[in-house]
Chain length 268, copies 5
Amino acid sequence: MSEGEGIGRAKSTLDTATIIGLLIAFALVGAAIVVGGSPDSFFNPPSILIVIGGTIGVTMVCFSLGEMLRSGQLIVKTVLYKTHDASAIAVQSIQIAEVARKQGVLQLQGVLESIKREEFFHKGLSMIVDGTPADEVENMMIGELEAMAGRHNKGANVLRKAAEFAPAMGLIGTLIGLVQMLGNLDDPSTIGPSMAVALLTTFYGAVLSNMVLIPLAAKLERNSDEELLVNQLYILATASIGRQENPRRLEMMLNSILPPNRRVQYFD
Amino acid sequence: MSEGEGIGRAKSTLDTATIIGLLIAFALVGAAIVVGGSPDSFFNPPSILIVIGGTIGVTMVCFSLGEMLRSGQLIVKTVLYKTHDASAIAVQSIQIAEVARKQGVLQLQGVLESIKREEFFHKGLSMIVDGTPADEVENMMIGELEAMAGRHNKGANVLRKAAEFAPAMGLIGTLIGLVQMLGNLDDPSTIGPSMAVALLTTFYGAVLSNMVLIPLAAKLERNSDEELLVNQLYILATASIGRQENPRRLEMMLNSILPPNRRVQYFD
Amino acid sequence: MSEGEGIGRAKSTLDTATIIGLLIAFALVGAAIVVGGSPDSFFNPPSILIVIGGTIGVTMVCFSLGEMLRSGQLIVKTVLYKTHDASAIAVQSIQIAEVARKQGVLQLQGVLESIKREEFFHKGLSMIVDGTPADEVENMMIGELEAMAGRHNKGANVLRKAAEFAPAMGLIGTLIGLVQMLGNLDDPSTIGPSMAVALLTTFYGAVLSNMVLIPLAAKLERNSDEELLVNQLYILATASIGRQENPRRLEMMLNSILPPNRRVQYFD
Amino acid sequence: MSEGEGIGRAKSTLDTATIIGLLIAFALVGAAIVVGGSPDSFFNPPSILIVIGGTIGVTMVCFSLGEMLRSGQLIVKTVLYKTHDASAIAVQSIQIAEVARKQGVLQLQGVLESIKREEFFHKGLSMIVDGTPADEVENMMIGELEAMAGRHNKGANVLRKAAEFAPAMGLIGTLIGLVQMLGNLDDPSTIGPSMAVALLTTFYGAVLSNMVLIPLAAKLERNSDEELLVNQLYILATASIGRQENPRRLEMMLNSILPPNRRVQYFD
Amino acid sequence: MSEGEGIGRAKSTLDTATIIGLLIAFALVGAAIVVGGSPDSFFNPPSILIVIGGTIGVTMVCFSLGEMLRSGQLIVKTVLYKTHDASAIAVQSIQIAEVARKQGVLQLQGVLESIKREEFFHKGLSMIVDGTPADEVENMMIGELEAMAGRHNKGANVLRKAAEFAPAMGLIGTLIGLVQMLGNLDDPSTIGPSMAVALLTTFYGAVLSNMVLIPLAAKLERNSDEELLVNQLYILATASIGRQENPRRLEMMLNSILPPNRRVQYFD
């Protein structure tokens, strides 16, 4: 009865490609740093602050405070979790439609319990069982889907803007370091370390942009497309069940929006 | 009775994200400069002049003098101030429409006083109260909205062009400094400081473009979209009131242009 | 009776933004050079030749000789001169239309003298006075307008292509200088000056592209749009006068293509 | 009877341009390395690992594990093998259509054996011979073609994303090397070799992106277009044979999708 | 009777802008090299080989062997030769149409001899004289025109792809040189020359891309547009003559596709 989870969370599994990909890339970069001798020299809090903080600050100028926070949560959720297999969901929907067709919509009370975790579907189907007209339920669900697509799009935009600013902040940090170093060339022994520190912000900016922000924006778009597809299936199914249509017709409609290699053939 | 404020100003609040974002980014850059020792070396009036003045000059070639000045004012206003919540405005409009419907358009005289600060709405509604046909008022308001969108677009273009020129002017300044330094290598002790000064213009150009112009252009576009939406709501409301339509119909029309998560439900 | 002026010239005023903008930018760059000490070191004829000559040569490959020459003239004319205010021209057109309506087209003989300098309008109106059918005059004027738009577009393309090639020619010049310097490191005292000279072509390329070609291409597009709009007004007016339409209808049609903030209201 | 081959493989020949082009480019780069003296210094496993492994890791974040693996296989197959000549396939299809027209669809049993290697055509034609309605066969084949186009597109996207990440990973590796070198300038004799190693990742990234990933993505798109065209020919032919249409009509339809220089003229 | 010339060649003149532009640019670059002292140091066969050979190899991976060879020939032909003046061709076509109208199509036998060099027109008109229906001739000519446009487009694509790869190959060559030089810093006297050689590939890549490939691709597109326009005129004329239409109608149709400043007025 834990209804507190956000939409999409309940029907998701951990996106292993995101985790493994990030692990591989960061492990290799980390190994290169450790093997090279002095890993300490790569950890420079002020440099980290100027790149990450500066990127956040400048990105915030482009958006509003609320948008930034909401996008942050959404990014974590959508990037790390993957929705269920669309084919399985299509088959499940057709089975429920068959039950509704044979035993009547009221008999879905039991089914509702089993799809408790697919919150979006559960909410729509509950309204159908409660007697809300199918058209009204469909419109409500489409409205929520649009709002979800808008949130995902805004989240991807935040990531893409930040990915543009991170290398720029890195360059700005490096320029600050270079100017400071060049103004103080008296002690030659400090030139090397000063320049190393100056380059660190460029390094952080490149890592933040290319190894975190750009890939996460791409994954967000990919997982968002998958989640929207799954929810479109739920909308089709809910409306079809509400209208007491033939489950064979539902199968045809689901297949028309499924990618060719995910189409289902439930009825012989 | 202070009618001197510009359109949009009256119904706006300070855009804290812009201020806070800029503060964070500049505070971090400033801290990095101060911590590094000699903040004086980062303040070089000729270099500042060549980057900022050069960017303004070259951007001016792309536009006309009047366009530059008008855009400047607009940028300050639109970037720093945010319009009211669209939902609140929709609800307020429906309430006024109800009054007009029940008590007649002439009774809006009192309401007019209360929306004095929403100049655009006030102007339209005054014309309605004065007996101007709704179609004419609507056309006048649409004309003003188009002019406003055009001004905002021109302002964003000025910022974007300047954002392209700033790093180029920085590069030009650095090249001048490098050529001067290289032609005068006799005294090795001056090489460092000369090169530091040469790099300053690149630094200013990067800061001006990435920390000011690009983010402000993005915020201008964002706030402009919000302001245009709010004014579209006002146009819909004014025309609907002028035509004495059912407020329920107005609610439906307002919802059709509101983003899904801002839709209102005034009538149960 | 000086009919020798090109189209558009007669009805133009000097574009002060172009002149002032260029002056500001070049004055600042010039000041930075002079203040730095040895302005002579920034004047290197071979380097200037390789960047400007090379850019012209390579741009010429992209077009034909005739196109290059015609574009050159057009650029000077369109970039330096601005057309009259569109509103004033609209009002003037309506006034002439009123005369034609009240006193007949033949009475425009006197008016013709007064618009002698607006060559495009003069030519069209003369044909109307001479009894050429309005449709034929309109088609001839539209044909000339298309040709003018095509010429402007070609001119902007020449500038944009050149703006891409200038930095590339600068880089090529710098690489030549670097290779020559590196092959001859025996006398350390020549390294600095040689490298300074090598960097000059990059400097010229950056100045030529960012401070001349890109801004002029943008201004050409802007002024071209304004000139085409003015000539569209003339076409509308000429055709309307030729067809003896109501001047009120002409006002409405002119307003439909004028930007909202330039619309006129001649009749109360 | 070896049906195990993938679609497209059976009807393909080795794409010599891919092999020869890669050989030329890598032979020249290899020669430059060997001629320069110490080829060993260009082989640095940790650097190779960080560029190739990092690129794979970051690209994986953008997609899913399954997508990466499937794309890998597809890339090898589509990039290395070229489909048959479209004209020859068009003529063959018309000949089979003639046989079907004269002797009846059932007589195609013998023909089926001869096109065993063109799996896509064979599968469709078998269904026709087995009596499946032409429309149904056509829909099945179109579905498979769409799935194939989707897979090819996904494969090209993986390559393009990787081509963007490879130089970024090279830059990150070089920055790590530079920071390590600069922090340890005590022994001047190690500066050169350390910097050489640091540059290696930039070198690997440039080679991986420009000499492998970008060209392969372009070839994948090109060969994919060719393979999809060939399969479209098969769909047209299969449907036409199934509908017992006049082979002259089939020729006309095939020519309408063939590029002009590949059109066939089988009937006088 | 020399029919061996390719399409377009016969009706072309040398494109002087291409030749002169290339001469100017290369003469200036050459002068800069010679004036600088040791022109030999700019001629390094291995570096030339790695840039030109590498670019060809990598470009070949993107296309097929046949496409590369055919594109090469086409580039030489289309870039170096310009088609005749479109206006002159339009007038000539109208004159032939008048002859055909007055004396009958069979009398064009003599005219055919005079247009022997305009192969495309000659071929079409010969078919008309031989009695082939106008529609069939028109379709054949349109098919050939499409094939020609496709070939030109493919040729421009080859040039554009190569223009992207040339600087990348230059960078790869420079990185190889730098790594070799850095690994061998023992003898300081070799550092300069080694680095000079390393920079040569970047120089070659910049020259090849910016002074050859990009301009030639632009000229190819420009001349291709002109040649296609001329051939469209020929198609219109051939079809009009074959249908025995009024030459005045042909003039109107030719003018509708001619650019405004090339339109002809043959009748009165």
